[in-house]
């Protein structure tokens, strides 16, 4: 049903989108009406978007979760939509006073702050960030090369995903920003400036730099230099939103909703009021009106956030590029996106909901969207295309287009490449060999042509050349890097799962035989049995790690899993020794000897997997 609903919505959305593109040309001769970058007249856009908004509510209920959308052109708001209820249970409708969590859009405030301090000459974008941090701040750096402020803005500090509590439920667990950062420093797996690997930790670290350079608390800095100048009175930026009590009160009314698999009914997820200790990276919360003011300021020629117009221009001039081209993959922390025009912005997601902010600095058209419905991505996916149009790739200067042949597996750079969850990076590896439609158009730029929703689409990718001689692919915030020793490691992982599952059957059979008094309990066999139990526990720990950590493994789960794996490793090592002793000294049948060999091999494989995949390393690095 959900699939059906989704299909209907998507097909309708695509049909309407096609209609918009077509009608965009047919309206060309109409009266002088402002047209969006997609070529669509505003009136036409409004009609179509209203239909889509209603379509997304096919759930048999009149009460839908909230979605707010604003489309603007410079200072002028072209379209406003407050749909649904922010609290269905208490009958509270969505309106201009509803506050939503902006998620990672908060990061753009860090980047704006950095650019403000840069134009004041307080920060050097090319300086090593250690200049601005306390001595010996880092404990897990692998490379000696400096990490620049620009590297942080480009998410190229080299950090992979780590184990940390991105969200906490108790306000008491919110530490100072510096403490929060120190307590969960991830592993540095890439050379600084080489690989784009989206990092919440790196962004929050930039927030700490703002705090240290400006000499005032980050929250206060943002209030003084971004919120107040723009008149954003309904926004909070601190971890617990208590820097703006009105926002805090409004936030407490907000509920989140999801549509579970197979059930076309909105299910309340409660208030989902969690706190982000590394708050600069994702805690901003406010009304859509305030988010609109912020986005409008970023396209305003009067550059209200900066002293000089050049600073704002620099912000959207690109700081990392695809291959050797001038096509930006990142622009000082803002993500460029190619539609019919190039737009900049950031999206965000928290346990509460999703948010999106996009704008075209040239046409001054932008869009902001906020929702707490986990299934409302249709809005955030399709509406930008109605506003900005499709990217056809026509503007690309192609000298010689050749098909790119990839070999082997690639891992997304934003994977847990170290620590207890690093095995997952092997499970999530991508076989690019199977992806058709990627062509090299020169300058180390790839054009990826594909069909989605019956529409031809083009996405730009970049070839990345690494210092170890390997090559990867850059796709915005993430790079796909060659997976080293993929085949041997995935085979080891499979063997680990096979042995763990086999241990369940061995234990069940053994229990049955002992109960029937067919076999007795030999001296020393307890070690082998304990190792079997440990192997089963190891598998269950892995399931726990993957199943109940939707927003990344938390520290508590990490510790449980890590300690389990340590015990499993120790028992397997003991069982290997015991198995060898029994094999040599005990007088058993051939079958018994074979059983001992299998037991030794199984324990060796399990222990090796725990070591190789660092399943014990709950501290992350």
């Amino acid at each position: 049903m959900k699939l059906f609903k989704k299909m209907i919505t998507r097909i309708a959305a695509v049909m309407l989108a096609s209609g918009i593109v077509v009608s965009g040309t047919s309206f060309a001769a109409e009266e002088k009406e402002f047209k969006l970058p997609s070529g669509v007249s505003v009136n036409n856009f409004v009609k179509k978007t209203d239909i889509i908004a209603n379509l997304t509510g096919i759930d048999g209920s009149n009460k839908k979760p909230p979605t707010s959308v604003i489309v603007f052109h410079g200072d002028e708001v072209l379209y406003t939509q407050y749909e649904g209820y922010i609290n269905i249970e208490d009958d509270i409708k969505n309106d201009e006073n509803a506050v939503f969590e902006w998620g990672s859009i908060s990061k753009t405030m860090i980047w704006v702050s950095i650019m403000q301090l840069w134009e004041q000459g307080k920060i050097d974008l090319d300086a090593d960030i250690r200049t601005y941090l306390p001595d010996n701040f880092f404990k897990n750096l692998k490379y000696d090369e400096p990490i620049t402020v620009t590297d942080l803005m480009n998410h190229q500090g080299g950090w992979c995903e780590g184990i940390y509590d991105l969200f906490v439920s108790n306000e008491e667990d919110i530490k100072s920003l510096e403490e929060a950062l120190r307590s969960c420093e991830p592993a540095q797996t890439f050379r600084p400036g080489e690989v784009s690997s989206y990092s919440n930790w790196g962004a929050a670290l930039a927030g700490l730099i703002v705090q240290r350079v400006s000499g005032i608390d980050y929250t206060q800095y943002v209030h003084d230099n971004i919120l107040k100048p723009l008149g954003m009175e309904h926004t909070a930026v601190s971890a617990n939103h208590r820097d703006n009590m009105w926002v805090r009160e409004q936030r407490e009314k907000l509920r989140s909703y999801e549509m579970p698999m197979l059930v076309p009914i909105w299910d309340s997820k409660g208030d989902q009021l969690y706190y982000i200790p590394m708050y600069p990276a994702g805690a901003a919360t406010g009304t859509i009106g305030d988010l609109t003011k912020y986005a409008q300021a970023l396209v305003d020629d009067d550059h209200p956030l900066f002293e000089k117009a050049e600073t704002q221009e620099k912000l959207f001039s690109g700081s990392a590029f695809y291959g050797k081209s001038d096509i930006p993959s990142c622009s000082y922390g803002f993500w460029p996106n190619d539609y019919a025009v190039r737009v900049y912005g950031h999206d965000g997601g928290t346990r509460s909901g999703v948010a999106n902010m996009m704008f075209d600095p040239d046409s001054k058209v932008g869009i902001v969207m906020l929702t707490t419905a986990s299934d409302r991505n249709v809005l955030t996916s399709y509406i930008p295309e109605y506003v900005f149009g499709y990217y056809s790739g026509d503007n690309l200067s192609v000298t010689n287009e050749t098909k790119v042949e990839f070999k082997g597996e690639y891992t997304p750079s934003r994977s847990p490449l170290k620590g207890i969850a690093c095995f997952y990076s092997f499970l999530s590896s991508v076989d690019l060999e199977k992806i058709d439609g990627i062509t090299d158009i020169g300058n180390d730029v790839y054009k990826y042509s594909y069909i989605e929703d019956y529409t031809d689409r083009v996405t730009i990718l970049g070839r990345s050349r690494y210092s170890d001689g390997t090559e990867g692919i850059r796709a915005g915030a993430v790079e796909y890097i060659p997976t080293k020793m993929y085949v041997s490691k995935i085979c080891l992982l499979t063997a680990f799962f096979i042995i763990g599952i086999s241990a369940i059957f061995v234990l069940l059979a053994r229990r049955k035989l002992i109960k029937a008094k067919i076999i007795g309990s030999y001296k020393g066999n307890h070690i082998l049995t304990c190792a079997q139990v440990a192997k089963v526990a190891s598998i269950f720990a892995i399931v726990l790690l993957l199943a109940f950590t939707e927003y990344g493994p938390t520290k508590a789960v990490g510790i449980i899993v890590g300690v389990t794996q340590m015990i499993c490793f120790a028992l397997c090592a003991l069982a290997v020794c015991a198995g060898i002793v029994f094999f040599v000294k005990r007088k058993t049948s051939k079958f018994g000897k074979i059983c001992y060999i299998f037991s030794i091999a199984g324990n060796v494989i399990t222990a090796s997997a725990i070591l190789v995949f660092e399943m014990y390393k709950f501290w992350g690095c």
Binding site: P260, M261, L262, V263, E409, Y424, F426, L427, S428, S429, D431, I451, Y454, Y486, V487, I490, C491, L493, T494, F497, I498, I501, S502, I504, F505, V506, L508, A509, K512, L513, K515, A516, I518, V543, L546, A547, F548, E550
Partner: protein, 258 residues
């Protein structure tokens, strides 16, 4: 060991002796194979399930209904050996059929047989809709994972039937077919009720993530070697289940009073 092999031979003789039945089985096998060829690779694996279930019921039927049990009166055999022999034979049959089906599936997939059948004439070569519709069947990886699941299920069903037989014996019941149909309907209803309980209660918060993990691990392991590793994992689960059921059957059969 020799005794177990002898006992397996007896079972095979009993199997061979009923030419009418094995001939029918062969015909069914060929028909299914033919249908499977027309449709898609993954369907070939259904043969394993069908043959495994048919062989199991035939052997048990021969022993109890056709009187082959009497053979064990003249062959010196302990209960343990009888059970092990029976489990080994049926596992071997399932494995051989499984390997055959796998080879057929791999060869036809390599020859792009299904793509030719599906896209020839009636359908446009570049029809995206058809591509999407048939991709699970012509996709080697998906076909292998489906094969693994069906092979695992075959071993599980076969070993469970055998274990049940050795625990309770063969009982001819009145209205056996009706009861079987009712059981099937009851099973469907029970499954529906169970699904509803999971979906409409907080249980879903536990069950759905676990299902999602199982899928994500299977999908991760199915990437290399076109699904071979995921298939191996499933097959091992099947064999592990057979070993456990065999142990249970030995214990139960030893306890049972004939």
């Amino acid at each position: 060991m020799k005794r177990i092999i002898d006992l397996m031979r007896i079972d095979l003789m009993a199997f061979k002796g009923k030419k009418d039945v094995s001939f029918k089985l062969l015909v069914v096998f060929i028909i299914i194979l033919g249908i499977a060829f027309i449709f898609a690779g993954a369907f070939v694996s259904l043969i394993v399930l069908i043959v495994s279930i048919i062989s199991c019921s035939l052997i048990l039927n021969n022993e109890d209904v056709k009187g082959y049990r009497k053979t064990f009166g003249v062959v010196p055999a302990d209960r343990k050996s009888v059970v092990i022999a029976r489990f080994t034979l049926l596992t071997l049959i399932t494995t051989i059929i499984g390997i055959t089906a796998f080879v057929i599936m791999t060869l036809t997939s390599d020859m792009d047989f299904y793509e030719t059948v599906w896209t020839d004439g009636a359908y446009e070569q570049d029809s995206k809709l058809i591509d999407v519709a048939i991709s699970p069947f012509i996709n080697k990886t998906v076909a292998r994972v489906i094969f693994g699941i069906i092979f695992m299920l075959s071993l599980m069903i076969m070993s469970s039937s055998l274990r049940k037989y050795y625990k309770n014996g063969y009982k001819q019941k009145k209205n056996a077919t009706l009861k079987a149909v009712l059981k099937l309907i009851g099973g469907y209803i029970g499954f529906g009720v169970l699904c509803s309980v999971i979906v409409f209660t907080p249980l879903k918060k536990v069950v759905f993530p676990i299902i999602s993990v199982v899928f994500s691990v299977l999908s991760g392991l199915s990437k290399p070697f076109n699904g071979l590793l995921a298939m191996l994992l499933l097959v091992v689960i099947g064999y592990g289940f057979v070993v456990y059921r065999a142990v249970c059957a030995v214990v139960d059969y030893e306890k049972r009073e004939l």
